[in-house]
């Protein structure tokens, strides 16, 4: 099918982006891989002769670190609960917003989008107040209904859930506009034809909208999954990983060891364990998607 100009063309298209990625992502990743086998610390950064190769030692000690084990457990908790919520909510909201064209729907679209564009520091301040055990708005409202108080950030399990609520709140906006863009691509004729056939709205959504959006659903699932495996900012600004390491994620663990304690080799080893887990999960997602596509054809 492809013509002659097609042999070189694809490489010209991907070349600029790929070069930049190679320089600023792939080579640094390889450097980080090498670092993960060393005892690099601040002293090593200043004077390379103080860096030593220590083989698999970093990996061995990371894997026996109880905090790391806890961080893995927490991260799985975040991923398993958070990812489906983000995908489902943003898809549902996008479809609902797509129902109408009036100013109200436009306004709503903007409303859902605001959390994603807000500065993290401000988010942390606002939500710390909402979750505040003594003067927080949430417990204030609950008290009006003679409920609570809920230990939003004080109990290890509750704190994880609280962070998920915050992160879902923040993530809906971006994914929603991706879905909205995908919805724009569905030709109106499809719905008109379905309407003539007497299909109700629900049927139209399940039989036309969702199948035609599978490419964007796949995108959002993959990127959200990758993102949540690296869940980081929320625990950093809200709880610093506490209480009792109940909210420490793997990425936060890596940050703490790398940037707070300057144990770069140790942090790099931790991140490669994370890296490999994400690759495996993503590869599985691609396999499933390919199988679906083949069945579809």
């Amino acid at each position: 099918m492809m013509k002659k100009q097609g042999i070189l063309a694809p490489f010209l298209f991907i070349f600029p982006a790929l070069t930049l990625l190679l320089l600023f992502s792939i080579i640094p990743i390889i450097v980080a891989l090498i670092i993960s086998f060393t005892d690099l610390s601040l002293a090593g950064l200043a004077d390379w002769s103080r860096v030593h190769f220590i083989g698999w030692n970093n990996y061995k000690s990371v894997l026996t670190d109880t905090v790391f084990a806890k961080a893995i457990g927490n991260t799985l908790f975040y991923v398993i609960i958070g990812v489906p919520l983000v995908v489902a909510f943003s898809l549902a909201i996008a479809i609902m917003i797509n129902f109408g064209r009036s100013a109200f729907f436009k306004l709503i679209r903007l409303v859902f989008y605001t959390p994603s564009i807000t500065n993290t520091v401000a988010i942390a301040v606002v939500w710390s107040y909402l979750y505040n055990p003594s003067i927080g708005l949430f417990n204030f409202i609950l008290a009006k209904f003679h409920m609570g108080p809920v230990p939003w950030l004080q109990d290890p399990t509750m704190a994880k859930i609280s962070l998920i609520i915050l992160a879902v709140w923040k993530a809906i906006g971006i994914n929603m506009i991706i879905f909205l863009a995908a919805l724009q691509g569905i030709p109106k004729e499809y719905y008109e034809a379905a309407e003539i056939d007497g299909a109700n709205r629900w049927k139209q959504i399940t039989k036309i909208t969702i199948p035609l959006m599978s490419f964007s659903i796949f995108f959002v699932s993959v990127t959200t999954l990758i993102g949540w495996f690296q869940f980081f900012e929320e625990p950093l600004v809200m709880t610093k990983g506490g209480p009792l390491d109940g909210t420490t994620s793997v990425a936060l663990f890596i940050y703490r060891n790398g940037f707070q304690y300057s144990k770069f080799g140790y942090a790099a080893a931790g991140s490669f364990i994370l890296f490999i887990s994400i690759i495996i999960v993503t590869a599985i997602q691609f396999k499933i998607q390919n199988r679906h596509e083949k069945q579809g054809v």
Partner: protein, 276 residues
């Protein structure tokens, strides 16, 4: 048909109510932030929360403008944001390359691209910094912009959307003798307007909020961005919440305006079949 129309209207109202309530809940934290930016710090930390400021004040904003090296930070932020749109174009090119061509090792290369998303940014920060330092790009705008210019997220997004464009359009153009470049810029990009808008918004936000690279790369305050400036206001001990709130509010407003403008043109009633 008539009953159908009626039920459609009913559905619209139900959906509208759900969205309204859900939207309001989503908006509360944001509303609180904006309202707080007009409060004094003492009022923010009262035991009985008040949403609307009792004695609205513009002091926070005044202090912000007075304290920040405002014009410099704004200029840098705009320059960085503008440059990041070059990256948007490169992402689109790469996305198209992966979506509409078959070549050897495509899947593997693409997975390699995706892999760059899978490692926490802090781990690669020092290697990237050393690399830029080696080629003498530290303390330059290029050094600030370059590392984040392209990203797997954008490439993947374009790939996904562009793969839904029908091959016939491309083939027809090829038969007419159009060059690959012409096809990409004159046919593919116009069709991809919705996703360009999405990525455009994301690019803008990324550039607008850029913080860590401007700080790490710059050895001169003349390269600082608004985000860095805002962070400077945070003291070692304790925080002036009111000032932070007004800073955050101030940074969000331009994005909302941009979003309002963009969505009017691009996300509304765009129809692929409307193109010739």
């Amino acid at each position: 048909m008539d009953s159908n129309k009626k039920s459609q209207k009913q559905a619209k109202i139900i959906v509208g109510v759900i969205l309204g309530v859900w939207g309001f809940i989503t908006f509360i934290p944001f509303l609180w932030m904006i309202a707080s930016s007009f409060k004094t710090n003492a009022e923010i930390s009262q035991i009985v929360p008040s949403l609307f400021p009792k004695h609205p004040t513009l002091d926070n904003f005044k202090e912000l403008f007075f304290k920040l090296n405002f014009s410099v930070y704004l200029k840098n932020t705009l320059v960085i944001t503008a440059f990041s749109f070059v990256g948007l174009f490169l992402n689109a090119m790469a996305g198209y390359g992966f979506a509409k061509y078959n070549f050897k090792g495509k899947e593997k290369i693409f997975l390699l691209v995706l892999a760059t998303m899978m490692i926490p940014g802090q781990v690669t920060m020092i290697p990237v910094y050393l690399l830029l330092n080696m080629v003498g790009l530290t303390n330059t705008l290029t050094g600030i912009v370059l590392p984040g210019l392209v990203g797997a997220f954008g490439i993947f997004l374009f790939r996904q959307f562009m793969s839904t464009i029908s091959n016939e359009i491309i083939e027809a153009a090829r038969l007419d003798g159009a060059s690959e470049w012409y096809i990409f810029t004159r046919i593919i990009l116009p069709i991809s307007r919705p996703v360009l808008a999405v990525q455009g918004i994301l690019t803008f936000i990324g550039g607008w909020n850029s913080f860590i690279w401007p700080l790490i790369i710059a050895n001169d305050e003349k390269f600082y961005t608004l985000s860095v400036g805002l962070q400077l206001l945070q003291g070692q001990h304790g925080t002036n919440y009111a000032l932070q709130m007004s800073g955050a509010t101030f940074m969000v407003v331009p994005i909302i305006i941009i979003f309002l403008c963009l969505q009017k043109y691009i996300l509304d009633g765009f129809n692929v079949s409307g193109l010739k």
